[in-house]
């Protein structure tokens, strides 16, 4: 891994904008039906072009936030880290307040502010990273101590876990736990505690999977064709879409999976649609772009001398990395079905805004490279 360069932050921002626009192109092309009824009153045309337009507007806001973060730097984050985590927890509780929080797809995860709805767990992830960076960076001396360097974070994690599990958001729970332990490890916390706690967490999650209906999802993951009518359906449709694409894809608009065979095609499974329309060539380009994104992120993170900045950058890079990987692994059926968005590509404002913000933070940290 080379030395951090002056323009790495700028490169990173340009890269995610390109990824975003490329994803938007596919979101829009899903609304085009060559060979099908061309008129705009078509149900699917309207549906997909609505997604594309909304996503474009979210993107503009997101990119603005990214540039804003790039300009103002990370000092305010350090300053308000505790406020942020408290605000995050408050919003998470707000989800359960009638008339403010609301449900979609069987899970209560959103709050509504006028016409805008927002998923607090997306914000919470960034707030938690900020909090951990602030808190851990100040505990260099006592980090090995159980009560000082480990226990408080387990309390926070426990509270967050309860809130997330109440929202039936297992995916984000796993990601947040992973981030917490990872950042503790990076900060030099006692490996024994982390290992034991991780083991406990893994066994609890495993038990939860084995003794609830989620076991069927795991079975469907192992053999989707046996569950083709229920749990395996989405997996099969996803694989069908990808294989439909072949090497060169079906050319924009010629895809068939957007005709609502594939549930959540615009959100969690957008990569399957990309695979169908763009083929292996385009999916490979996306993989390369994502790897380059992580490369730049880690390069910036590794260059950080300031402990807060370093933990913050590693947290953000790891979060983006794990989100992308889990999403792609689910779409390609390497992991069992789990509803997580693909950053910068999936339709959905909350994740897009937070993801752009995080890149803005990384880019602003990248400015420091030249100072070294």
């Amino acid at each position: 891994m080379g030395e951090c360069k002056k323009f790495d932050g700028i490169k990173l921002m340009i890269l995610v904008v390109i990824i975003f626009l490329f994803g938007l192109l596919f979101l829009y092309s899903a609304s085009v039906f060559y060979n099908y009824r061309g008129s705009m009153d078509n149900y699917f045309t309207i549906m997909w072009s609505t997604y594309a337009i909304k996503q474009f507007l979210f993107g503009i806001v997101g990119i603005s936030l990214m540039i804003l973060m790039y300009r103002i730097g990370v000092e305010p984050l350090y300053k308000y880290a505790y406020h942020l985590i408290l605000a995050g927890l408050f919003l998470m509780i707000l989800v359960f307040v009638p008339h403010v929080g609301f449900s979609a797809g069987g899970a209560t995860r959103w709050i509504r502010l006028g016409p805008v709805s927002f998923q607090p767990s997306e914000f919470l992830k960034l707030a938690l990273i900020t909090y951990l960076a602030r808190s851990l960076s100040g505990k260099k001396k006592v980090i090995k101590d159980f009560w000082m360097g480990f226990f408080p974070y387990m309390v926070i994690l426990g509270v967050v876990a309860v809130l997330l599990l109440l929202q039936e958001d297992i995916g984000d729970f796993v990601i947040i736990s992973y981030l917490t332990f990872l950042l503790l490890l990076i900060s030099g916390a006692e490996i024994l505690y982390i290992a034991l706690m991780s083991l406990l967490g893994v066994s609890i999650v495993t038990t939860a999977i084995l003794f609830t209906h989620r076991i069927d999802r795991v079975k469907a993951w192992l053999n989707p064709w046996d569950y083709a009518s229920n749990y395996g359906y989405q997996i099969i449709q996803s694989l069908v879409a990808l294989s439909n694409g072949g090497v060169t894809g079906r050319s924009p608009g010629a895809g068939l999976q957007q005709l609502s065979f594939l549930p959540e095609a615009h959100t969690d499974y957008i990569f399957a649609i990309i695979g169908e329309e763009g083929g292996f060539i385009v999916t490979t380009l996306f993989i390369v772009a994502f790897v380059y994104l992580l490369y730049l992120s880690f390069k910036i993170a590794l260059a950080q001398k300031n402990s807060f900045n370093m933990i913050l950058a590693i947290g953000i890079a790891s979060l983006l990395g794990i989100e992308i990987i889990i999403n792609l692994a689910v779409v390609t059926n390497i992991f069992p079905t789990k509803g997580l968005p693909l950053p910068f590509v999936s339709y959905g404002g909350s994740n897009l805004l937070v993801s752009f913000t995080m890149i803005g933070i990384l880019a602003s940290l990248g400015r420091k490279c030249e100072e070294m």
Partner: protein
């Protein structure tokens, strides 16, 4: 130390991520490139939806274009009880019941898990309109309750309708209850069955792309609806108004004679075209109840009966033609009682010496026995076969009965006697009429037919039934002689005087057969008259049978009057002759 470890850990983290991306990339390669075909069949299946375009079954028409059978599209109404109980549970069933007049709507909806129950079949246009209106209302109500689908829906169905009802009912036949939405399925009787291949049309399927939503929208931009390959129209040789008249006279005549059943055929002897064909009791193909379906059989082609004396002219004609018999030969009629082959043969009157024409005219059984004896069984059998007895005429209708004629080697002497005057064998009326046509047309055996042509929607003739001559049976001269002999039957002193008309000379032969009901009794008869007119240059052959008459038992009194009435109608219609 810890600093270094932390640094390596962070680098390692990136490489772990990179490795996971590599794994995903390999997986993408496998799914998208390497095992691309594995999923393709699944893809095909789920985007394709096959739509059936069902044809209309062709019409059956008389030769002058009166529609005898046609297919109509109607709507039937069915309920989806599960949909009702899942979303509605309101008072819309009462409204629907009021609109279509169904009383047991609650019973229909009582099985809550069922998705299909008929509410009412074959709605009227008005009911369809009202149901459609109610449906709109129910859909808007359903939207509030979270569904776009009403709990009752209309289903298109095809039915077969016979506008003329009983007219030529048995000739037209009926169609079976078919699968799917068709109640005008495969023909199972009459022309419907024989010409099913022409009538049925071709079911076309089109393949379209559909979406994955529950509404199964069709996404294909332009659906090329294939030109509906409707069935072809079949024009019969039947003359609607003549058929109507024939049926009227037949039913009157059968009732007058107190008969159980009756048949009548009018045929063109030169071509075999059937102009009218009736079986009484009549059959209305629109009524599908069991009592009515009993009369579905076309008796003219399927009812085998012992013909009696009506057979005599054929044996005589054959014998004359072969030179085995001379017209002026005389036979002694034994004063009405003759013992032959162990049985006693009676004439209905006592006759002495009779010439061959007299034997026909007075219908002497003893005379015929002696002719039969002179010819021998082999010759009698050969003659009858030549005239087409004991085999199908080949008429273009299903269910023809070949009759029953034993091989001569199995005849006892008494059989020879019986067969000579038309007992001990079974024939159908169509066989008799076809045989009589041989005499009428100058000696040729024709194939009778009821369908003239099959026509497509643009009027092109797809299939045409041309007259078919199966062979020469007797010489023209013999035929001419026989026509004169048969004319005598209707002259004073003959058995068929009731058939005679003042305007035109007719010819024919009566038959009064005893029916075998365990034994030959004097109680049960088959009365018949088969003849033609004008007798010197026949245009029409007519066959009439009154089966089991109780009031008028003789062919001359039960069947001959029907012949006369129809014959009169024919000559009036022909315009050649007018009534005085």
């Amino acid at each position: 130390m810890a600093e270094m470890m932390s640094k390596y850990l962070k680098k390692l983290l990136f490489y772990i991520y990179a490795a996971l991306f590599l794994a995903i990339w390999v997986r993408l390669y496998l799914v998208q490139v390497r095992y691309h075909d594995l999923y393709s069949h699944y893809t095909e299946k789920q985007y394709r939806r096959v739509i059936k375009v069902e044809p209309y079954r062709g019409k059956i028409l008389t030769r002058d274009g009166t529609v005898l059978a046609e297919s109509l599209q109607v709507y039937s109404l069915y309920a989806d009880p599960k949909q009702y109980w899942s979303f509605y549970r309101d008072n819309s069933p009462q409204e629907l019941a009021r609109v279509v007049g169904v009383k047991n709507i609650h019973k229909i909806l009582s099985r809550r898990d069922v998705r299909f129950v008929w509410i009412k079949r074959r709605l009227t246009d008005r009911e369809v309109q009202e149901v459609k209106q109610l449906s709109k209302k129910v859909i808007s109500e359903g939207k509030k309750r979270g569904t776009l689908i009403p709990w009752f829906r209309l289903q298109k169905e095809f039915i077969r309708f016979y506008p003329e009802g009983e007219l030529a009912g048995q000739v037209v036949g009926i169609t079976g209850f078919s699968t799917g939405n068709r109640y005008d399925g495969r023909g199972i009787a009459g022309i419907e069955a024989t010409y099913n291949e022409f009538l049925k049309g071709k079911e076309e399927t089109i393949v379209v792309t559909r979406d994955g939503s529950r509404l199964r929208r069709i996404m294909t931009s332009r659906i090329f609806l294939p030109e509906r390959l409707n069935g072809l129209d079949v024009y019969t040789t039947i003359d609607a108004s003549l058929q109507d008249v024939v049926e009227e006279y037949l039913s009157e005549g059968v009732k007058r004679a107190g008969g159980k059943r009756g048949m009548a055929v009018v045929m063109d002897p030169h071509t075999g075209r059937i102009l009218a064909m009736a079986s009484y009791p009549f059959f209305n193909p629109n009524k599908r109840d069991r009592r009515n379906l009993k009369y579905m059989k076309n008796l003219v082609i399927s009812y085998g009966f012992e013909p009696g004396s009506v057979m005599k002219p054929f044996i005589v004609a054959g014998a004359l033609d072969d030179g085995k018999l001379s017209l002026h030969e005389r036979f002694y009629a034994e004063e009405g009682r003759y013992l032959f082959g162990g049985i006693v043969i009676h004439d209905h009157e006592k006759y002495g010496w009779l010439s061959v024409p007299e034997i026909i005219k007075y219908s002497s059984n003893i005379g015929m026995t002696k002719i039969g004896d002179k010819l021998g069984p082999e010759e009698v059998y050969r003659i009858l076969r030549k005239f087409g007895f004991g085999m199908k005429t080949g008429i273009d209708l299903w269910g023809e009965n070949p009759g029953y004629l034993r091989h001569w080697k199995n005849w006892y002497p008494a059989d020879l006697a019986n067969i000579s005057f038309g007992q001990g064998l079974k024939v159908t009326l169509i066989q008799l009429v076809t045989a009589m046509s041989v005499i009428a047309n100058g000696g040729l055996l024709v194939r009778p037919y009821v369908v003239d042509r099959v026509v497509d929607s643009s009027g092109n003739i797809v299939y045409k039934n041309d007259p078919e001559i199966k062979g020469r049976v007797i010489s023209e001269e013999t035929a001419r002689i026989m026509r004169r002999v048969l004319h005598l039957v209707t002259e004073k002193g003959g058995t068929g005087t009731e058939a005679a008309l003042p305007e035109v000379s007719v010819a024919g032969k009566t038959g009064t057969a005893q029916k075998w009901v365990g034994e030959y009794t004097r109680e049960v008869y088959t009365a018949s008259f088969v003849g033609f007119l004008p007798s010197n240059d026949p245009e029409w052959v007519l066959g009439i049978v009154v089966d089991e008459p109780e009031k008028e038992i003789y062919g001359g009194t039960a069947a001959a009057p029907i012949f006369r009435e129809i014959a009169r109608e024919l000559i009036i219609r022909s315009g050649k002759l007018t009534l005085r």
